[in-house]
Symmetry: C2
Subunit: 365 residues, 2 copies
């Protein structure tokens, strides 16, 4: 079933469903994204340690990556990216890019931030310089970055926020969503809305009711994996994800572990992003079909086998656990490359396996 999305050039093709789980294709002007999909995070114009060619090459074959508006706005700055015609020209990545709005980083990273109904004033975590971000500014930055999917500027409260904070955040997020929609986006840039509401299901439903009818190209669940318990995360995912409009892609922001992804897919989510596979790789945590490998463990010192015998990535095809352990212990750059390639491939394979199962066992949509 093919659903046209509001932005020309974008459509969402639902191929099959299995319970709440969905398999589909998000068609974009820069290429097709097979869903469910995990999106590697490219914070500063690079998925850390990876080249564009490695990200594109099968079996990793990343179809879309993330860029962070807050980080790129501060470094290298918009004039630098603009000189290259946008983030694609700057980074050399030719497939779709999704950019966040910068809001989450302003709240979590900036040295000082003062939020009001109109936007946020903050100081850079790098040099303390003062900046202002509001819906129009965020959209203007995302236009300069030239992302394929922009996100609305939202307020994301921490996991332990009280009801008043959530109520205010929802009111602002809805108002800001309207302001983002009112801006003129570059052609070929879709816009996703973000549902907040924390771990209260009724609050989530009430906020969704405000956003569902707006002409977004997709909807995201924000404000999960921000400090709440895993039980709460799963409770909201299970009960709520399938209530998002069925004719648009559904995206859960900043989630998560391989188990989280499986749970999210079962709940009806189509898109995920998280720094976990890349950051864990650099910290020595490798994902495998038989569980986590902590590569610094002394038991791998003489282990001549691959990280994961089932994995087709170049790292597993050409290097041993002992070699990777040695590179990790010696802080060699090559370790970060090989480990990142493996973990991202593991995530990509996990998503493809879930997708294949939905296509094989599900009902044609």
């Amino acid at each position: 079933m093919l659903f046209d999305l509001p932005t020309p050039g974008f459509s969402f093709e639902l191929l099959a469903t299995l319970g709440n789980a969905r398999a589909g294709i998000l068609h974009t002007p820069r290429g097709d994204i097979l869903t469910p999909v995990f999106m590697p995070v490219g914070t500063l114009g690079t998925v850390k340690a990876m080249t564009v060619a490695e990200l594109e090459a099968p079996p990793l074959d990343a179809r879309i990556i993330l860029g962070n508006t807050y980080h790129l706005y501060l470094r290298p700055g918009l004039d630098v990216i603009s000189a290259h015609g946008g983030l694609h020209g700057f980074s050399g990545w030719r497939r779709p890019i999704l950019t966040d709005s910068g809001g989450f980083q302003v709240f979590s990273l900036a040295a000082i931030n003062e939020i009001d109904d109109d936007g946020v004033t903050f100081r850079s975590h790098i040099d303390g310089s003062k900046h202002r971000l509001d819906p129009e500014t965020s959209m203007r930055i995302q236009a300069t970055l030239g992302s394929d999917i922009a996100m609305v500027f939202d307020q994301c409260p921490p996991g332990d926020a009280n009801a008043d904070v959530h109520a205010l955040a929802i009111r602002r997020t809805t108002a800001w969503a309207h302001r983002c929609l009112a801006t003129t986006r570059p052609s070929g840039q879709a816009l996703f809305g973000i549902v907040q509401g924390g771990t209260d299901l009724d609050r989530r439903r009430a906020h969704l009711a405000e956003l569902a009818a707006l002409p977004f190209d997709g909807l995201a669940i924000g404000g999960l994996a921000v400090g709440e318990s895993l039980d709460d995360t799963y409770r909201i995912l299970d009960a709520f994800a399938h209530e998002l409009p069925a004719d648009k892609p559904r995206y859960v922001m900043g989630v998560g572990t391989p188990t989280d992804l499986a749970r999210g897919v079962a709940a009806g989510v189509d898109m995920f992003d998280c720094v976990m596979p890349t950051r864990n790789a650099r910290n020595g945590y490798l994902f495998t079909s038989t569980g986590k490998v902590v590569i610094s463990n002394a038991k791998y010192r003489l282990d001549t086998g691959p990280i994961d015998a089932e994995c087709p990535c170049d790292t597993c095809r050409t290097t041993s656990r002992a070699y990777l352990r040695h590179l990790h212990m010696a802080r060699e750059i090559l370790y970060n490359r090989l480990a990142t390639l493996h973990n991202l491939t593991f995530y990509a394979r996990t998503m493809r396996a879930l997708r294949d199962r939905i296509l094989a066992d599900g009902s044609k949509a």
Copy 2:
């Protein structure tokens, strides 16, 4: 003209000469090495930041890399490398490897070292543990590493050493050379001798006279680029390199800049190694056909051109100076990869250009 070398499977084919400069092929059981050649340094079982596939792929096409006996002996340790059948199996590199003897690092890096006529006792620069290195131990380690070319264990005095130190170092280096030759090497492992003598030409000649007749597969000039003036380096290279036996490859250890390489080739040198292209890359210094690029320089902030418009490497074909500057300033791992690939490609192209000129303008050998 084809010269058989003492070790079965190794031969040196001299193709052309131009003045003292030579173009040839060092044939080895693991493949041909086109000379003159620059050998990237793979200290700890990895040419820093590079995969084996990247080193092998044209236009870099590295035909031989270095491994450091001292470093690999301490980390990961010989049992680990032995479990993989040697450094080739450990690192995945299939082409020739040259290993140094460990002597130079013991003198320059080890926390404490005590040298006597038999060998050196030292403490690890990593954990202070005590070790002993002598000619037989060095050869045993290099046998375990399974390198294609081993180097004799020598004593390399610093650039400001006096005549007594040099005399003693030469006496020991010759005695140790005999002891290294007396060991049983694994099949397919060649052995190079090392001429010491600092910046005194007569001392160099006297030492060479002791080594020239020994059944080495090649001879190296050690003890250059260890603190002496560049004038002294060039004076020794110019006057002495061509006096090394013409029927064996000539190797100058630890040299140097692109200018040094051109000077060394003109003087009759066939093989070079240096950490300069890899280390300088990581520190932000990039070599180009129009001079050095210090990538942190603010003038590259908006520069959308490649590092070197004449360079065919992937870095120059796909990224801008501004992008590399951004990655460097943000300390992104990808910067180290892209910069190292470029600098090593520049060195490889420099050597190939020199070789092509000798072949084109020189006399057939």
